[in-house]
Structures are given as C-alpha cells and as structure tokens.
C-alpha cells in the first residue's frame, strides 16, 4: 500500500485544573495515500484541530502511533524530529496572526530554509521568488510586510512558506475560513492546482462541508474526539450512514430550492456533552434522534459497512 501518512489509535488528553481529563482526541486512526487529500470535518470541540496539531507534533501525544512514510514521527524527538520537519509542514487558519508582522515576506518564506539548513544559502532568495510565483504572487512583493497584503494574499504567503521545504505532507487547518467567498475560491483552486502539479499529500481540516467536498478525496467526520464516519467524499455526501453525518449535511446552508426559507432546518437539539465527563456509551447518543437504550450503554466502534465506508453506530 502506498500510504504516506498512517495514524493509529491517536490519543491527545489534557489535564484540567480540577483534576479531570479533557479527551480532545480519543482513539483516532486513518491513512492518507500519497498524492491524496483526507478531510476531517467536525464542529468546535470535535478534536479536528488537535488531531492536526498532533500530526504536526505541536500537541502532546498521549498515545498511539503516527507514521510518515516509514518514519515514526510520534516517537522521535529533538534533533531527529527537527531533521524530519521539512517533510511535513502546516498552513494555519488565521492569515493575520500566523505571519510575523515585523518580517518582510521574503524573509518569512525563506526562514524555514534557513532554520532547517535546506539548499545552498546563495540559492535561497531565488527559491523565494520561485515560491511566490508558484502561489500566484509577483516576486517583487517579497520586500513588503504582511500588513500590506489582503487576507487571501496572506494565505498564499503562508502556503509559500509551507512549500519552502519541499514537504511531502501539508496539514491545512481551516485555511479558507477567514476569507470572503470570492477570495476563498481563489485559494481553494490554488491548493488543488499545487497538488495536481507536485503530487503533494494533504490533511485538510475544515468545518465547511462544501469546501471539504471540493478539495478532498476522502472525508472523516469527528465528534467529541472520535471519528464517527469515514468514506470517499462522493460516498459520504450521497449516502451518509451515521446520524451525526446526516445531521451535519442537513444543517449545512445551501442554495438548493428545498432549503429556501426553511428556517435552518435544525435536526439536532442541544450541545455536545463536555469532553471531560464523557458518557460511557455512544458520545452522540444524547443528541441523536435515533438513540435507543443500548446506545447509552455500549460505545460503538468503526465498522466497514460499504467499500471504504466505515461507520461507528450500532444502528447503521
């Protein structure tokens, strides 16, 4: 199998001030094939961003394994980890706070090469110009500061910085959610074009189903630290099997005629339970319109119900 990234039973737990434990990520497994995109969708508190941060080794890993093309990145530390970092890079959500306002754009993009000692120092400026062109910005813009750019342009700069080390994997955390829709389309098209041209592998975190549908080959839906459904993108939209996936798709605002003036079409009541005091059974049971007594007693595990489609629901 040509898997670039393989995550097994990943757990990220944080202690609370009152002696409890936040189960931010609680037993997550997935693979991403080389040159493909896995999307993780979920609402706030689902653990999608923490999963991304753990893959980037930016969140403490409580348990589980992360393997990047044969390198066990969940176990290596220090200099060994640092030398592996060029192979996996990240693009952040906020195009304002993720760029140092006091550095010129050229330096921001060059910095990963300087810090990780990539290529000849004399060739790095030329590489910066090449990267700017690759993300659709004029090379002479390298001497400007971040505040002189729009949100969409700043996200291009963040992308150029991520590309600087010639990574195999790029982790995107809500890369377009701070952008207006017209600009969002520009950045999404760029992200896809880069993958077509360079064969990059993406892990793509988003709360927006339309966006995920557009960029991802496979989609995992997270709820309270766990994956509740995982399937090829077309499949999950055509035939969602988990009641939470169904509710998410139904709640996504749409221009479709059947959505007109339906007042939101809410299916779910209430909020997710606290990630500190987790229920014993299915974590979605308290909001699930279909839940029966057994759901509250036993936790469902992911089962493959159709080729490539796995669902964690007793009733699916």
């Amino acid at each position: 199998m040509n898997q670039l990234l393989s995550v097994r039973d990943l757990k990220v737990h944080f202690p609370t001030a009152h002696g409890g434990t936040v189960h931010a990520v609680d037993g997550v497994s997935f693979d991403i094939r080389r040159g493909r995109t896995l999307g993780i969708v979920g609402e706030s508190g689902s653990g999608k961003t923490t999963t991304a941060l753990a893959v980037m080794r930016l969140a403490p890993i409580t348990g589980g394994e992360i393997d990047l093309d044969g390198t066990p990145i969940s176990r290596i530390e220090g200099e060994e980890l640092r030398r592996t970092r060029p192979r996996f890079q990240m693009v952040f959500q906020d195009p304002f706070s993720s760029l140092n306002p006091r550095d010129r754009v050229g330096r921001i993009i060059r910095q990963p090469m300087d810090l990780l000692g990539l290529g000849e120092p004399s060739g790095r400026d030329a590489r910066v110009e090449e990267l700017l062109a690759q993300v659709g910005l004029r090379p002479e813009l390298k001497s400007l500061y971040p505040h002189q750019f729009s949100g969409g342009q700043r996200q291009r700069i963040g992308l150029a910085r991520a590309l600087a080390t010639r990574p195999d994997l790029i982790v995107f955390d809500e890369p377009v959610s701070a952008l207006d829709v017209a600009v969002q389309a520009q950045v999404l098209n760029l992200i896809r074009r880069l993958q077509r041209e360079t064969g990059l592998t993406y892990l793509f975190i988003s709360h927006d189903l339309g966006v995920v549908r557009h960029v991802c080959d496979e989609i995992a839906v997270m709820y309270l630290g766990q994956i509740v459904e995982k399937a090829p993108a077309a499949q999950i939209f055509a035939a969602p099997r988990h009641p939470y996936t169904q509710a998410l798709i139904a709640a996504a605002p749409s221009l479709a005629p059947e959505h007109r003036r339906r007042g939101g079409g809410a299916r779910l009541q209430g909020d997710p339970p606290s990630p500190v005091n987790l229920p014993k059974g299915c974590r979605f049971a308290s909001r699930c319109p279909l839940a029966v007594e057994g759901c509250r007693r036993r936790m469902p595990t992911l089962r493959e119900l159709a080729p490539g489609q796995a669902v964690a629901c007793h009733l699916a």
Partner: protein, 330 residues
C-alpha cells in the same frame, strides 16, 4: 394587502473622513422592510453591510463618520434627525440588535438574567423582581432548558449557542418592531446555527418582528430571507425577492459570488469560478461602477458613470450597464 414598511431607508449616504481622504462608506442605499419580513443584506467584508446596521441605530462613530444624505424612516420618523436621547429610547426598545460575537457582547460580570432584566427596566416600568421574572420567561421563550437556573449563570458558563440565545432573549425582551441581526451565527457551529435560524424564523412569525439579517453567507440568505440586498463597495448593486436574486442574478458580481461558493452538489473535479482581484478601497472609487475593474463584462462606459438600477422583474433590480442596453439576458 399592502403593509406600511417598519423601516424605509432612502438614498442613505455615509462618509468617513480618513487620512487618505473621504471614504464613501454608504452611497445611495435604499431598502425597506415590512412587519414580519426578513431582509438579508449580503456582501463581502468592507462592503458596508455592518455600517448600514450601525447607521440605523445611530451608532456610527462620529467623527470620523457622518450621515451626509438620505433618510432612515422608522415607523414614519426619520432617525437621522433624532437627538441621541430620543435614539436611546428606541435602541434596545423598538429596534433591537444582536451581534456576531455572543461572548464579547454580554457583560462577563453580570448574570444573564440580570442583563436581560436591565434591558427590560430601561424601556418598561417594572420592579426588579418583575423584570427578572420577565428575563426568565424570555430565556424559556428562546428554548433555553432550565431557564430559572440559566438566568443565574454568568455568560462564561454557557456555550456559544446558548449565549447567542441569551442575546436574542435580551433583544426580544422589549418586543421590538425591528430586529437587526449582524452575522448572528458566524461564530457558531452549523448544527447550532440551524437552531438559531429556526428560532429567529419562529419568532418573526409569532410576533411580526421585522428582521434585517446581515450576512456574508449566501446559504444563510437562501435559508432565511424573503428579500435580499447585495452590497458592493458601499452600494446596493442588486435587490429583490430572495428566489429571484438567487435563481436569476442580474449583476455580474452577484453571479460571481453565487458561482464561487463550493457546493456539495457541484462537480468536485472542476475548478471553482473565481472573481479575480480584490475589493477596492473606499477612498479611491472612481466615478463609474466600483466592480468594473474586476468584471469580465466591463466596457469603457462602465467607468464613466454609476450604473442605475434596472428593473428585471417586479421588485427585482440590478445596477449594471449591461442590463440597460439589454445585452445580458441573465
């Protein structure tokens, strides 16, 4: 049946003095909302949609902002001519507003019940006890479980969706004729957004409150709006019944905006249609159409003068020169 509009804005112009010159933040903005009706104002950041909301409430920071023309008729009275003391009686009373961020718009050091009760006592004669009882009743009306308990909770003890319900309860506590909702669900998850939309929809049907919904999300427009006004660079460039605008957009900008939304049912292998370029600065708008520099259909005449609104059908109109000459059958 023709009902008098609750709110009727005519040719509103708002300027801001900036270091780079005068910015025409709102230019010739006109729309009206009838009782029980929901009008959505949609556009990208900086298009003037939030500024429209603030000007209705007389909340434009002045200086540097100033209403330089037009009128805002609320139940027949021109709000632009009222004194601050008169406006204060209307704000939070007959006109209420809910904001995007339910965390920062609630006071962290008072309980939710106290804050709603304060709003009640500012506009109605009520004893502290009666006002608090009214707060509990409002929390129940917006679907908060155990309202007696939640009324004694501080904002940080509630989830984002719950806090937005508290804001809505406060806004509705004085039975407003007009509710202005500025991106009320942008900070919320989709399943919670659906709940809040459902709540707003139910309330306007029950109470006849008119709603102005400010949003950047065409999906929200589809889910909620009777009418829509699309703004670009301080002007309304298209308006009409929601179905007409969404299904048969007349302005190239509206068409571009609708096409660039990633849709669940679209062909995922095709690139998204983009609108090239970015929104212009409001300080250096030319004499012509502000969208012309980004418009694929622009001709020289577009830069010469502001296009006027051309009726497409009934109440549906768009401000594009191509419609005047009849070259675009949209």
């Amino acid at each position: 049946m023709v009902t008098e509009p609750v709110l009727d804005i005519r040719n509103l112009k708002v300027d801001f003095a900036t270091r780079r010159g005068v910015a025409h933040v709102l230019d010739d903005v006109s729309f009206s909302v009838a009782p029980g009706e929901l009008l959505a104002i949609v556009g990208e950041s900086g298009c003037g949609k939030s500024m429209t909301a603030l000007s209705i409430l007389g909340l434009i920071p002045s200086p540097p902002g100033k209403v330089v023309g037009g009128s805002i008729l609320f139940q027949g009275r021109d709000l632009t001519r009222l004194r601050q003391s008169e406006l204060r009686r209307i704000r939070g009373g007959d006109i209420a507003m809910i904001f995007q961020e339910p965390m920062t718009s609630l006071n962290p050091v008072f309980t939710c019940g106290e804050q709603i009760a304060e709003a009640v006592r500012l506009h109605q004669k009520a004893s502290p006890k009666a006002a608090f009882a009214r707060a509990v009743e409002m929390l129940r009306a917006v679907g908060i479980p155990e309202p007696e308990l939640r009324a004694r909770a501080y904002p940080h003890q509630l989830s984002g969706g719950m806090r937005q319900r508290v804001m809505i309860a406060m806004a509705l506590s004085c039975e407003p004729k007009l509710l202005i909702a500025d991106e009320p669900t942008t900070a919320l998850d989709v399943t919670v957004q659906a709940q809040i939309f459902g709540l707003l929809d139910e309330l306007r049907q029950q109470t006849g409150t008119a709603i102005v919904l400010i949003t950047h999300d065409m999906g929200a427009v589809a889910e909620m709006a009777d009418k829509v006004a699309v703004m670009y660079a301080g002007r309304i460039i298209e308006r009409g019944p929601a179905d007409a605008v969404l299904d048969n957009p007349g302005h190239p900008y509206t068409r571009g905006l609708l096409a660039s939304i990633p849709r669940v049912d679209a062909d995922p292998d095709a690139d998204l249609p983009e609108i090239p370029g970015i929104v212009p600065a409001l300080t250096d708008l030319g004499r012509g159409c502000a969208f012309a520099p980004r418009c694929a259909l622009a001709v020289d005449a577009c830069l010469a003068a502001q296009p006027r609104h051309v009726a497409m059908s009934g109440d549906h109109s768009a401000a594009c020169i191509q419609l005047e000459s009849g070259e675009v059958s949209a």
